[in-house]
Amino acid sequence: MSKEIVPGYDNLRLSSYLKGFFCALTFTILAFLTATDHSIDGFSRMFIIIVLAIVQFILQLVFFLHLGEDRKPKWKTGVMLMMILIVLILVLGSLWIMKSLDYRMLPSTKQIDNYLNSQSGGL
């Protein structure tokens, strides 16, 4: 009876949650093992962890939050994509600006001295 009351949520399935749970569990354990595995160098470990996080993010969205299963027009998915765009601009933009700010910052007195010394062979 309650099935007809809130459509879009009448297709809740146990299998979807079970799949989501085991995928999330696997990816969490994989990420944990990658971080503690010292035979791989730091940069590749970070890359693998980011990729695992993004894949787990998408899997949880599909299996737990049922993204893409809403009726047309797919407002939920549309809002989600807009959010991802804003988040990317916000995070990557901040990092870019701060990195370039660091680069353009006036160097410390010590660095200037070192530079001058290297130019004139000492004062």
Binding site: M1, S2, K3, E4, I5, V6, P7, G8, Y9, D10, L12, R13, L14, Y17, G20, F21, A24, L25, T28, A31, F32, T34, A35, T36, G42, R45, M46, I49, I50, L52, A53, Q56, F57, Q60, L61, F64, L65, W75, K76, V79, M80, M82, M83, I86, V87, L90, V91, S94, L95, M98
Partner: protein, 199 residues
Amino acid sequence: MEEENVLNQELVIERNDKSILGFWIYIMTDCVLFASLFATYAVLHTNTFGGPSGKNIFDLNYVFIETLVLLISSFSCGMATIAAFKNKKSMTIIFFGITILLGLTFLIMELSEFHHLALIGDSWTRSAFLSAYFTLVGTHGLHISIGIIWMIIIIGLILKKGLGPHNLRKITMVSIFWHFLDVVWIFIFSIVYLMGVIK
């Protein structure tokens, strides 16, 4: 009478659909809040001011257990939603109860970690890195505590009014909220803890 009932039901359907979309938009703006905290953390995580870096203070095994607790609570929240839509009142309450207990376990683990850090002198006043860390993880913890309170209220509502359309709508919202917190935690676990230990 029959026709009127159908019409009424359709009105309820439409209203529920709209409020769930509205709640979804709120969740997305909450994502933007977390994104700005992540950006702050990403910019400041190297500014340790002579204090400890992530490598010195994070205990990965401990955080891994925290992550598993939250993941299992997300799953049991899903179970509660399924039970609610199948009109199984006692199952819904039991699964929400399990979710609340797991959520509390997670919160206590997080707070005791904070307590430990504050005791050894590495509180949020120590460095920019620690300020950003406490703000990001603390905001998530605050959301978790709101979620726990919300679920307690929902259990009260189910006991009082059963599993009518209004309560089903509220249950759907709280489960969206709880799954969303687990999604945010994936990134805190990966970016703050796992990558913090590598550096």
